[in-house]
């Protein structure tokens, strides 16, 4: 398997706090890679570093051989990196369709003048974008809510819209930050099914942060465990689950308990 995303010695300090400490990892093309760890372990910070919301204090991040370490956030969508957020980050005053269309932004070209006239190229471009969005709506089975204002939808549906918006980027790498937190069993199973479909049908690479061990163990190809900002284990789900360092991070050690 070839590497799609590589982190080498990535460190992020906020003043005196080292949130991510010398983490190196490799995500292969077409795999489902899960990042787990106790609360405050630095998972979301690592995600923010990969999606260029923050810049690392040191270390390098490469995606398809390109160095992302100093790239402005907005250039990532065009490179093919999409993400969802741990706390909902949908555009809540707009309809589902418009939310998904924002995801198409990096693929559209219209300039102010042609947009104001809305003829020829600008219109054709919108038509194509709209058709693509309809495909995503169909994939996520949200046809009946397409014209609803996102803010009025249930939490699970808003998360699904956020996933749809990320898919509209047509990403090579999809970063999912705690996708299923706060969802009921049915909604969680739907999401797990979508993730597997994305990998199998569209060959997308999925990198997710997840607290739900059921999903992590069931669908991941690789699991990476972080604690206090450091990587403590990596491997197949079953290997990681049996790793003493991981058990200690989650449950504490016998010596500490005694």
């Amino acid at each position: 398997m070839t590497a799609l995303l590589q982190l080498e010695g990535v460190t992020k300090r906020f003043g005196g706090l080292t949130a991510v400490n010398d983490v190196s990892l490799t995500v292969g093309r077409g795999e489902i890679y899960s990042l787990i760890g106790p609360n405050g372990a630095g998972k979301t910070t690592l995600f923010n570093l990969i999606s260029a919301v923050f810049r690392p204090t040191s270390g390098t991040i490469t995606f398809e051989g390109k160095n992302l370490t100093r790239a402005p956030t907005y250039t990532l969508a065009r490179l093919g990196i999409a993400r969802t957020f741990q706390n909902l980050a949908v555009f809540k005053h707009e309809t589902v369709v418009n939310n998904l269309l924002v995801g198409m932004h990096a693929h559209l070209r219209s300039d102010p003048l042609s947009a104001a006239i809305f003829w020829g190229r600008a219109r054709n471009e919108e038509l194509r974008a709209r058709e693509r969005v309809e495909e995503i709506i169909e994939f996520l089975e949200i046809e009946d809510i397409r014209d609803h204002t996102v803010g009025t939808l249930s939490y699970g549906l808003q998360k699904r819209v956020e996933l749809g918006r990320a898919l509209a980027i047509s990403p090579k790498l999809l970063l999912l930050d705690e996708m299923v937190s706060g969802m009921n069993l049915e909604e969680r199973e739907d999401i797990a099914r979508f993730i597997l479909d994305l990998k199998d049908e569209f060959g997308m690479t999925i990198f997710m942060v997840e607290h739900d061990m059921g999903i992590v163990m069931d669908i991941s190809d690789h699991v990476c465990v972080v604690n206090y900002g450091r990587k403590i284990a990596e491997g197949r789900p079953a290997e990681v689950a049996a790793n003493p360092a991981v058990i200690e991070a989650y449950l504490g050690s016998k010596r500490a308990a005694a």
Partner: protein
């Protein structure tokens, strides 16, 4: 109840409206507007021209404040820039008016970039204060750059003709303003259904998510400033044509507040709301005048004596009432009414 309305091709999905009823109404309204000069008197026509100019200004401010979420108290400043550009280019430099109008818009847009750049990191109240400061700076520059702007003397606007018609007079002015109003509304509607309008909306609702979706915040915030100010500049230029004389006092802070009031009343973020709000607020003083004139002489004299105070108070009352009872604004009232009648006689 309207039923059996299906989308049959993707073209209908990107159309402004795929309903025949809406287009028929729109065409009907346009016909009435075109025939208006033959139906109403000179005084009525002046009022209509003022409200059309208010529509251009409101639709433009709505792009910046309603759609992008950048609160601006600089409307008066941009109107002043547009009006002065137009007046000076016409009177002192003898440019033809078909050139001075777009030039006024462009000058306002360029100056808005100067305001926009330092404002990029600011949001909410802080941005409002910066834009407010801008409009004071503009009026001081106009006052003290006497060599160019005639300073406190103001400028008389003359020499605006298109095809031999004096577009500062009633009917030709009306058609010019009407055409530009329709063009502004269409441009605003079109922009808001492309990636630019959606990028603005994304910045307003969640700027971090917008960045991750590939939107360059710097570029799109500046674009919002520039496009909005372009149209505000044109509105200012049209004001100068209608007023025939511009000086700094015309562009007082109250204009900026009126503009904000219009888009809040209409319903923030909605283009149709901005139009409704502008019509509502432009005709409010006239309605008040008619209201006071129904009473005995002393009461209507009260209105003539305190016209500005009463107008200001009425704006305040109307804004408070709307914020309390209908925060979605006039467009919310309209949507409720439409829902009620389209489902009638059923409840929903």
């Amino acid at each position: 109840m309207r039923t059996g309305h299906f989308k049959e091709n993707p073209g209908q999905l990107v159309a402004l409206s795929d309903s025949r009823v809406v287009w028929t109404w729109f065409a009907g309204m346009l016909c009435v507007m075109v025939l208006a000069p033959f139906l109403i008197g000179n005084y009525g026509l002046t009022l209509v021209v003022s409200s059309l100019i208010a529509i251009i200004g409101a639709v433009a401010l709505n792009m910046l404040t309603g759609q992008t979420g950048l609160i601006s108290l600089g409307q008066a400043g941009f109107l002043a820039v547009g009006a002065y550009s137009n007046a000076l280019l016409l009177t002192d430099y003898h440019w033809p008016v078909w050139l001075t109008l777009p030039a006024s818009g462009l000058i306002a847009a360029l100056i808005s970039l100067l305001v926009g750049i330092p404002s990029l990191r600011l949001k909410g109240l802080y941005l409002a204060i910066t834009t407010l400061a801008f409009s004071f700076i503009i009026s001081h520059v106009i006052l003290y750059a006497e060599g160019v702007t005639h300073g406190p003397n103001g400028v008389f606007v003359k020499g605006a003709t298109i095809f031999g018609y004096d577009v500062q007079k009633g009917v030709p002015l009306y058609y010019l303003v009407l055409g530009l109003t329709v063009a502004t509304i269409l441009a605003a509607l079109n922009i808001s259904r492309t990636r630019i309008g959606r990028a603005w909306m994304a910045i307003r609702d969640h700027d971090i998510a917008a960045r991750v979706m590939g939107i360059d915040l710097v570029r799109y915030k500046l674009l919002a400033f520039a496009i909005s100010s372009f149209f505000v500049g044109i509105a200012g230029a049209l004001m100068s044509l209608q007023l025939r004389f511009v000086n700094v006092d015309v562009f007082a802070l109250i204009l900026s507040i009126e503009a904000l009031a219009i888009i809040i009343l209409g319903g923030l973020g909605s283009i149709a709301g901005a139009v409704l709000g502008a019509i509502f607020l432009s005709f409010l003083p006239e309605t008040l005048r008619l209201f006071f004139s129904m009473f005995a002489d002393e009461k209507s004299a009260l209105f003539t004596d305190y016209v500005y105070e009463i107008r200001g108070a009425a704006y305040g009352v109307v804004i408070v009432l709307f914020l309390r009872f209908k925060p979605e604004g006039l467009i919310g009232v309209w949507k409720d009414a439409r829902k009620y009648w389209s489902n009638w006689p059923l409840a929903y």
